[in-house]
Symmetry: D2
Subunit: 336 residues, 4 copies
Amino acid sequence: MLHVGVIGTGMIGQDHIRRMTQVLAGVEVTAVTDVDAAVSRRVGDLAGATVHATGEELIADPSVDAVVVCSWGPTHEQYVLAAIAAGKPVFCEKPLATTAEACLRIVEAEAAHGSRLVQVGYMRRYDSAYRELKKILDAGDIGLPLMMHCAHRNASVPSHYEKEMAITDTAVHEIDMVRWMFGTEIKAARVLVPRKNRNGGDLQDPLFLILETANEVLVDVEISVNIRYGYDIRGEIVGEHGTASLGSLSPVTVRTSLRAADPVPADWRERFLAAYDVEFQEWIDAISRTGTPAGPSSWDGYAAAVVSDAAVAALQSGSRVEVSLAEQPKLHGASA
Amino acid sequence: MLHVGVIGTGMIGQDHIRRMTQVLAGVEVTAVTDVDAAVSRRVGDLAGATVHATGEELIADPSVDAVVVCSWGPTHEQYVLAAIAAGKPVFCEKPLATTAEACLRIVEAEAAHGSRLVQVGYMRRYDSAYRELKKILDAGDIGLPLMMHCAHRNASVPSHYEKEMAITDTAVHEIDMVRWMFGTEIKAARVLVPRKNRNGGDLQDPLFLILETANEVLVDVEISVNIRYGYDIRGEIVGEHGTASLGSLSPVTVRTSLRAADPVPADWRERFLAAYDVEFQEWIDAISRTGTPAGPSSWDGYAAAVVSDAAVAALQSGSRVEVSLAEQPKLHGASA
Amino acid sequence: MLHVGVIGTGMIGQDHIRRMTQVLAGVEVTAVTDVDAAVSRRVGDLAGATVHATGEELIADPSVDAVVVCSWGPTHEQYVLAAIAAGKPVFCEKPLATTAEACLRIVEAEAAHGSRLVQVGYMRRYDSAYRELKKILDAGDIGLPLMMHCAHRNASVPSHYEKEMAITDTAVHEIDMVRWMFGTEIKAARVLVPRKNRNGGDLQDPLFLILETANEVLVDVEISVNIRYGYDIRGEIVGEHGTASLGSLSPVTVRTSLRAADPVPADWRERFLAAYDVEFQEWIDAISRTGTPAGPSSWDGYAAAVVSDAAVAALQSGSRVEVSLAEQPKLHGASA
Amino acid sequence: MLHVGVIGTGMIGQDHIRRMTQVLAGVEVTAVTDVDAAVSRRVGDLAGATVHATGEELIADPSVDAVVVCSWGPTHEQYVLAAIAAGKPVFCEKPLATTAEACLRIVEAEAAHGSRLVQVGYMRRYDSAYRELKKILDAGDIGLPLMMHCAHRNASVPSHYEKEMAITDTAVHEIDMVRWMFGTEIKAARVLVPRKNRNGGDLQDPLFLILETANEVLVDVEISVNIRYGYDIRGEIVGEHGTASLGSLSPVTVRTSLRAADPVPADWRERFLAAYDVEFQEWIDAISRTGTPAGPSSWDGYAAAVVSDAAVAALQSGSRVEVSLAEQPKLHGASA
């Protein structure tokens, strides 16, 4: 039984606590903390967990085997570094940290520690459809990959959503997925700006992100965040003698009113619920069995941040921007 | 250039005249007649065709190479027999005649004539999807056929539509299709009566028709004639190691309002328009080249009538009814 | 934490133990037993569970809160009755018992006990696609249900599989699903026998089962158990103004060699894995929270047995056979 | 009956002659010519048409009402100009001429003539799926268009196929389609170069073409010409609150060997056969009724050439290239 402490008990933290207490096997939430003490008190009592005043105190708690960080982004770095300092495995929701520099500090701290402790919450790698896609690609069924066409569509976004977030919050999932899918780094980014959707008010929406991998696979990502009709994640890999696409996954087809209709999910929760479950179960199992995570590493979190920065620069400049990564520590050599 | 005379210039006759004058190659409509002289006058003038007082007069017209019969069902027998007597090829809209006995008289008259002159208007055999299905079946891609599941759905039917018409007017298309698809006769019919659709008023709708072919393929046909959502023709052949189904044929998919929707045709015109064109073009080409039709024969028309009668008897009795066919003339030995 | 004892540690028992120890939350396997002591010893040691000599001993174990019965079918009755006698919740894999009479004895014992203790392992009710179908039906989106077309296809079956098992082992899943989907009993069954698949050797395969519900919904089920191409479960409900079908659920589409292909599952494990997980998690949660199961009841197990018997009689006689159920105890009035 | 003369009796010319003699209504091929006199003799005899020594002689033939130009591209300009000079309607296979300047000379000659005579063979506008897409877009079902994702895939190309032809021969169909679909000009082009497909030998394949329309719709086109798996034309328009895509059009689905497979066409003939028929029938009907074509105009041919040139320049330079069109004559104001 893995004893987990959760830092940050907002919406996402509560969802992960629910997951670990009501859905998954081999795990107990033994400690919680939040910047809002009233919230952490309420959540902790419900889960039967010790409530700590600070993340540092929680990390130090000997009843905590492993740490989950779901707090506000700007606090991720300090908690992840503290967990590394304490030698405890830490699962950090994306982003790993709010700047590439901060991510790199984590990479380096972990490398200095000498073994992997950090996993970053890129859950697409755990989605059964993406995994099936990767299996087909890796089996060589379509030949070498040449291109990938993606779409990341949200029905709507909150009013505080800003233009750059289409890259840093939304397409960052594709950025990580591409690195994982093709097993290689991204070397350059471009962003093109189509006609503006009036549903988005002043927001520049959609955007068209174009990535180049180190082995010249060209990836395009439509990012539409006010498209109203639902949450839709699309992906088609173009290989040398075939293509492989994410399927429809529609549980039912309804024929009424001159239409045969498949339901489209309303939001990401519906689409990726099972992926979150798998992500956490695999993390729990890996930590329980080996003490070492097997999922997206601190290097993956760092690389995603650097590519995001390049894409934001590309959006601002209108030009192709090259990605420049630090040297990869030996510890992380096998990741991505 | 084939010179065709059309008997019956109602809705269907006019549609075939439009087809032969505006769509197809190698044909001219040179003569028309109708029980309503005013209608035939108007239609004939428009088409630049001679207007005859009677079908017999039209058949005798030396400028008529071949005859198309689209008149009221009860008159089919007399015109088809007259065309046979005149030695002229005749395309007769379904039904060939209104009773099995009348159909048999035509079969015998044609056999006595000594060569095929009659083609009956079962257009499903010309539909590209059914043809593709038959090609896959005949290639052995799914092994020997064991079952076939069909659905024949109409959005609605006119108020004069009666219970037996679900067999004689609607499912008769499946009856002919099954004989052609499997290259064999139907030996028995059953009809089961599900819960009644309130959209159909007093009409018993839907019905569930079950056919057995001579080689034991079991075919079920859902007949729903007030299902509102559209016109939908479905078919799946179950073979020994696979199945083959009619596909979706959807030209577009529209994603709006939490749905990915494919359009469903509103009626049979939309679904089978191209099949009618192919049916007529192949008939015109066959008659022009060889004087002999290659499509559904008088025997096919007779067999469909006998199976329909058996199915109506099965509906009335609630029991399995065996089909009893007359001996097949040598002339028709290769048909179905 | 629910403490569960598992009777029967064969293939299915081991799979449920894996599920309860490695996948689900809120449950521990604390005791096991099997007719083969060596097997139960090995499985019990692995799971860290007490190993009992008999099912009765396991049921009496005070560390066992609830019982899961996965033993050989003929032993189900005795263990379920023993659990009822002990007042402990019991999850029994299908069939509830091997005869309708035995099932009825369980129904009556539970009724005498005065509250529900028994749940039967019909897992289709937990499949997300069937649940979505039921939601659409219950919402009235397609009007009242009139018919349902089903197919239950297995790539192959073991050599000991006999003709009646197509009903009692295979289509029994559809029998339960239909009662649950339409919230009503089945009143009659017919079985038609199509052309035989040579892949099945001497086995009569496929069969075509036709069920009538108390409210006149007509349900047909193709049962093909040697169809080679994969495991395929199909269902389409025909309503008054539309239809709702199980969707494709395909995670990917692969385009190679003149084909756009969606994968088909190889067997039921792949297709219903998630349904088993949901079934057990909901059972664990219900027992933990209320002590009372909410899933398929002993009455459901009994009714499935009676309908199966009727279908077997229909297969043997070639006739329509009516279903005759005992009077339903008040306790079970809300089930199905 | 429209009397047509065909200049160029190679593969495409013969196919159009077959179409006009064996498939379509209201047309006769009365004259042919070809640079290879033996070929035109053979084809002309077969069609019962006068064989002319030159295109000019054919155009002058009083028995020719309208001209179809299917000769070698470099000769298009002279024959189209000659037909305009003779005041005869002329259908010219794409390209209208081999340079933008030559196309513009034709536009100007037609404008000087004062009424439309020229139609260019962009047949996608006649494809039922594209037409359905345009209908949905024009109805406002998905809101204003913002983006369009296209793929143009060929199984293979002949050995003489060169890099620029991916634009000028292949994607030129998308270039015309986009202008027609959105009713606006294209203002800029970019071409990105993905990893090279080894199936294509030295050829740079695939390419990724990006077009901007005057109203800021961003269109991307994957051009893959050696993808082996078949001929596949894809298109999805992204609107403000939904998307509309070309559908599957699959006539059948075959389930065998753990796959549910839809056939993919082998080449463009199979995919666009019906579109060619519709294109010609509508041209014949328009010319017969009004003397004036209603399809793609000389301006459309010119604009496609200019956009193609810009795209080729973009491919060569690696930069975004703006499209610069001549002033549009009043005569062509309503086209595109």
